[in-house]
C-alpha cells in the first residue's frame, strides 16, 4: 500500500529542490574530487621553519618534500633520496636524489637547493642544530648528489633528517632557502605532492591545495609518512570552523568531508550518523603534560617537585580532560607508549599521598603560593589544571590559579621572574606524542637550564650528558638503554610530569578511503568515492 507523504517529507523534498536550484556551483564543488577538511586550527603563518605549530607542519607536508621520512614502524625511509652511503669512518654521508624531482615552478630539485634548505632549517630546529654542530661541511658533488661531512661520527643523522614533526627539514628552492631563518618565506614553492593555491589563501579562514601533476611519487605504497605520495584527489580545502558543533553538523550534512578534532563528547553522535566514519589514524596520539618552573619558589626545590609527582594521578587528569577511558591510557613513558623508546621506569602513574606529604615536608614548604597558569581555550587545558590545583590544596599548598587564553600562557611562560613579579610556577598543556619520541627532539627533557632551555628551565648535567651520548649512539639497543636512563633521571629530578596519552579519532565522510595512518593528517592516497 502506498503511504501518504507526510508534511516533513514534502518539506524536505521541496527544500532539496529549491536548494538544488540555488546551489549549482556548490554541488559541483562537492561532487568533484575535492576534500573539504576542517582541521584543528586554521592556517595563518605559512613558513614551517618559523612557526613550530602543527598547522605550519601540516601545511609543509602538503607542499614540500623531505629527504627521508618515518614509516609506521618508526623506521626512517628514503623519500627524495634514492640511495645514500656512509663512509667506513662514518664521517661522510653521501646522498643521491631521485631523478625527476621538480619544484612547483618547474625547476629541477638539485643539491644546490637541498644544502641551503638544510642549513636554514638547522638554525631553527633543536635536533637540526645539534646535528649541524657535528657537520664540518656540505659538498655539492653534482646536481643530484651531495655530501654531508661530519667532524665526528653522529648517530642520529637519519632520525634527524627524517623527523616527523616540527620542525621538519623541508626542501625549498635555493632562492627561498637562502633567506635568513627569522625572515618568513612569502613564496609558496615546494616540490611536494600538492601545490598551494596562493590566490585563494585567506589566512585564518581557508587554504587551498591542488594536486601537483608533476610530482613523481615513490613506487612503494604509503607507510606512515614514508612511501609513495600518490594524490588521488584534485583539490583539498583546509577550512577553518571555530565552532565544533557547527563543524559536526556540517559533516553530518555532507558540507565537509573531514573533521580532524571533534571533541570527545561529540564522537558518539558522529559515529552514529549516517555516512560518517569515526576512526583513529594517529596511533601515538597526544600526551598531556604538567610542567613546573625550576627557577622560582616553590618548585625550585626538588623535593617539592617530587611531592607534586607523587600526588599526581594520570587517571584523574585524563578523566577531567577526555572523560571516556576508551580514548586514553595511563603511561609513564616520557617518549610515548608504543614507540621504540617506550619504558615504564620511574613512576607508576598513581598517587601516593603519604609519600607526597613526606616530600613536601622534606622540601621545607613554607607556604609560597603556586601560581598556576590555566588555559581556558579547551577542556584539555583547564580540566587537568583544575584537578592539580585541588590536589595541591589537599596537600596543604597555597595555589593561585590564573585563568587565561593559550596565547597569554605562551607569553607569560617565557618569563623567568618570580611569581610575584609576573612569573609563574606551573601550567598544563597537551602535545603530540610524535614530538616526544626522540630524546633530542623532546624539549621536556632538555635540561640545559636557564640560558638555553625551554620554559620550566630544568637544569641537570646528568641528563644532558646522557642526551649527548644518545646523539652519538647509532644502535637501537644502545639508544633504548640510554633513553631509559634519561627517563629514570627525569623522574628523579622531575623535569615534568607526563599526564597520560590519549587518542583523537578523526571523523570523516565514509566516502573517503585510503587515509594513511600517520602522526599527522595526510591527504595523499585518499580517495573520494562518491
Amino acid at each position: 500500500m502506498l503511504k501518504e507523504p507526510n508534511r516533513r517529507a514534502l518539506l524536505k523534498t521541496g527544500g532539496a529542490a529549491i536548494a538544488a536550484g540555488m546551489m549549482p556551483r556548490l554541488a559541483r564543488a562537492q561532487s568533484g574530487k575535492t576534500i573539504r577538511a576542517v582541521m584543528h586550527a586554521p592556517l595563518r603563518a605559512t613558513d614551517p621553519a618559523i612557526n613550530t605549530a602543527w598547522t605550519g607542519r601540516n601545511h609543509g607536508l602538503n607542499i614540500y618534500d623531505t629527504l627521508f621520512a618515518i614509516d609506521s614502524d618508526f623506521q626512517i625511509r628514503p623519500q627524495m633520496v634514492e640511495t645514500y652511503e656512509v663512509s667506513p669512518d662514518e664521517l661522510t654521508h653521501t646522498f643521491h636524489l631521485r631523478s625527476g624531482l621538480k619544484f612547483h615552478d618547474g625547476a629541477s630539485v638539485t643539491s644546490g637547493d637541498v644544502i641551503p634548505s638544510l642549513q636554514r632549517w638547522g638554525k631553527r630546529d633543536t635536533m637540526g642544530s645539534r646535528m649541524m654542530s657535528f657537520v664540518a661541511e656540505f659538498k655539492a658533488v653534482d646536481a643530484r648528489t651531495f655530501q654531508m661531512v661530519m667532524k665526528a661520527p653522529y648517530g642520529q643523522v637519519l632520525q634527524t633528517l627524517g623527523k616527523p614533526s616540527s620542525i621538519i627539514p623541508f626542501i625549498l628552492p635555493a632562492r627561498l632557502a637562502s633567506q635568513p631563518p627569522e625572515q618568513p618565506i612569502a613564496e609558496f614553492v615546494g616540490s611536494g605532492p600538492f601545490r598551494f593555491v596562493a590566490g585563494e589563501f585567506r589566512p585564518g579562514s581557508r587554504a587551498v591545495y591542488e594536486r601537483n601533476a608533476d610530482y613523481v611519487p615513490r613506487q612503494e605504497p604509503p607507510d606512515g609518512m614514508a612511501g609513495g605520495k600518490v594524490v588521488k584527489i584534485d583539490r583539498y580545502e583546509w577550512i577553518s570552523m571555530p565552532d565544533m558543533q557547527t563543524a559536526a553538523n556540517a559533516l553530518i550534512n555532507r558540507e565537509i568531508d573531514f573533521l580532524e578534532v571533534a571533541p570527545h563528547d561529540l564522537l558518539p553522535t558522529l559515529a552514529a550518523a549516517k555516512g560518517v566514519t569515526v576512526a583513529d589514524y594517529n596511533p601515538q596520539g597526544f600526551m598531556s603534560v604538567c610542567r613546573m618552573n625550576w627557577l622560582t619558589e616553590p618548585f625550585n626545590r626538588p623535593e617539592i617537585r617530587q611531592a607534586v609527582l607523587y600526588a599526581s594521578s594520570q587517571v584523574d587528569w585524563l578523566d577531567a580532560q577526555i572523560g571516556n577511558p576508551e580514548y586514553y591510557q595511563t603511561t609513564a613513558a616520557m617518549f610515548g607508549a608504543g614507540t621504540p623508546l617506550a619504558s615504564e621506569v620511574g613512576w607508576n602513574t598513581k598517587p601516593d599521598l603519604a609519600r607526597a606529604k613526606d616530600h613536601l615536608k622534606k622540601g621545607g614548604y613554607d607556604g609560597a603560593p603556586v601560581v598556576m597558569l590555566q588555559g581556558t581555550d579547551s577542556p584539555l587545558l583547564f580540566g587537568s589544571s583544575t584537578v592539580t590545583a585541588q590536589k595541591l590544596r589537599g596537600l596543604g599548598m597555597k595555589v593561585d590559579v590564573l585563568t587565561m587564553d593559550w596565547g597569554s600562557i605562551l607569553a607569560r611562560r617565557v618569563k623567568q621572574d618570580s611569581a610575584a613579579q609576573g612569573g609563574w610556577s606551573m601550567y598544563h598543556y597537551v602535545t603530540t606524542t610524535t614530538e616526544l619520541t626522540n630524546p633530542l627532539a623532546n624539549t621536556l627533557v632538555d635540561t640545559k637550564g636557564k640560558s638555553s632551555g625551554y620554559p620550566g628551565w630544568p637544569e641537570d648535567a646528568q641528563i644532558e650528558s646522557l642526551r649527548d651520548k644518545f646523539a652519538l649512539e647509532s644502535k637501537p639497543a644502545g639508544q633504548k638503554q640510554i633513553a631509559e636512563a634519561i627517563q629514570a633521571r627525569a623522574y628523579d629530578v622531575v623535569t615534568h610530569i607526563p599526564g597520560g596519552q590519549f587518542r583523537q579519532p578523526v571523523s570523516h565522510n565514509s566516502a573517503l578511503t585510503g587515509i594513511v595512518r600517520a602522526p599527522a593528517p595526510l591527504f595523499w592516497n585518499v580517495e573520494k568515492t562518491a
Binding site: 529549491i18 631553527r124 585564518g204 550534512n253
Partner: protein, 316 residues
C-alpha cells in the same frame, strides 16, 4: 548650510574621535598580556627563537617609537602588515568585510521590513491582541541568546528539513541565489533581536505621534486611516526609528562574532577574535580603526537623514 559643508564640518569634527580610537587601540593591546612573537614561534620555541622574532617585528622597540611608526603609516593610508600571515592588513580586511556587510544588510532589511510594521500595528491597535503578541515577541527576541537561536535554526531548517546549509558563505561572484541561500539562517538568527528592538522603538514612537493634535485633525478631515497612520504618523515617528536602525547597522558590523562563529562566516568579527587570540597587533588596530570609521560614518548619515524625515531639523 549646504549639505557638502555639513559633511565636511562633521568629518573634521570626527577626526579627534578617530585619533582617540587609534590611541586606545594601540595602548590597550600593548598593555594587555600576550606576545605575538611567542605565538608565532609556537609551543616548542626556545627563548632565543622568540627573541629573534621579536626583534624582526620591531616589538623590542620602545612603545612611543612603535606608536609613532604606526601613526605615520596610518596617515599614509597604510594599516600595516599582519604579524602572523605577513599579508597587508587592508587585504585581510577586504577579504573579510564582505560576509559581515552582507549579513548586516540582510539582517537590517529583514528587521525593518518586519519590525516597523509590527511596531506600527501594535501602536495602532494598542492593548489589543497584535500589541500583546508584539510585546511577547519583543521580550522573546531580547531574552533568547543569539547562539541558541542559531543552533535552533540549524537543527530545524538545515539538519531536519535540509532547506539551507549548516554553515558557510558564498560570495556574490558565486551567484546571487547561492549568496542568499547561505545568508538565510544567519539573517534569521540575527534579525530576531533587531526586529524586537525596532518594533519596540517604532511602537513607542508611533504611540507618541498618534496622540498628537495633527493626527486627530487628519482623522477629523476624514482621511483614510491607512493614510493617517502610514503617511502622516509614521513619517513623523521616523526619526527615532532611523536612529535605532543606524545604531543597529553599526552594532551589527562590529558585533556579529558569535553568529559568524556559529555559521562559519569568515567575516570581520572572526578576524578580530582570531587576531586578538594571536596578538596580531596590526590587524586588531586596523580592524578597530575600520570599525570606528564605520560607526562614525553611519552616525553622520543618520544625522543627515533626519532632515529628510523632518524638515524642521536644520543644520547650522
Amino acid at each position: 548650510m549646504p549639505i557638502i559643508r555639513v559633511f565636511a564640518n562633521r568629518m573634521i569634527s570626527v577626526l579627534p574621535v578617530l585619533a582617540v580610537v587609534a590611541l586606545l587601540a594601540f595602548l590597550l593591546l600593548r598593555l594587555s598580556a600576550g606576545d605575538p612573537a611567542s605565538q608565532l614561534a609556537g609551543d616548542n620555541a626556545s627563548a632565543a627563537s622568540i627573541a629573534a622574532i621579536r626583534a624582526r617585528l620591531g616589538l623590542d622597540q620602545p612603545l612611543p617609537v612603535q606608536f609613532l611608526q604606526w601613526c605615520w603609516r596610518l596617515l599614509h593610508g597604510d594599516l600595516g602588515t599582519s604579524i602572523v600571515s605577513g599579508q597587508p592588513v587592508i587585504e585581510l580586511i577586504e577579504q573579510r568585510i564582505g560576509p559581515t556587510i552582507a549579513v548586516s544588510i540582510t539582517t537590517i532589511l529583514l528587521s525593518v521590513v518586519v519590525g516597523v510594521p509590527i511596531g506600527v500595528l501594535a501602536a495602532w491597535k494598542r492593548d489589543g491582541l497584535i500589541d500583546r503578541l508584539a510585546t511577547w515577541t519583543s521580550v522573546t527576541g531580547f531574552a533568547v541568546p543569539t547562539f541558541a537561536v542559531g543552533y535552533l535554526w540549524i537543527y530545524l531548517l538545515a539538519m531536519q528539513l535540509g532547506l539551507f546549509p549548516v554553515q558557510g558563505y558564498a560570495p556574490l561572484s558565486d551567484g546571487f541565489g547561492l549568496f542568499l541561500w547561505h545568508l538565510v539562517l544567519p539573517t534569521l538568527t540575527l534579525s530576531l533581536v533587531y526586529i524586537a528592538l525596532i518594533a519596540r522603538v517604532a511602537r513607542t514612537s508611533m504611540l507618541e505621534v498618534l496622540s498628537q493634535d495633527f493626527v486627530r485633525t487628519a482623522r477629523a478631515k476624514g482621511l483614510p486611516e491607512r493614510v493617517v497612520v502610514f503617511r502622516h504618523a509614521l513619517l513623523n515617528a521616523a526619526v527615532p526609528i532611523v536612529s535605532i536602525v543606524g545604531i543597529g547597522i553599526a552594532l551589527l558590523i562590529g558585533g556579529v562574532v558569535v553568529t559568524e562563529s556559529v555559521f562559519n562566516l569568515p567575516g570581520l568579527g572572526r578576524l578580530t577574535v582570531e587576531s586578538v587570540l594571536a596578538r596580531d597587533y596590526p590587524v586588531i588596530q586596523g580592524v578597530v580603526i575600520v570599525f570606528g570609521s564605520v560607526y562614525v560614518a553611519i552616525n553622520l548619515l543618520v544625522d543627515i537623514s533626519y532632515s529628510f524625515f523632518d524638515p524642521r531639523i536644520g543644520y547650522q
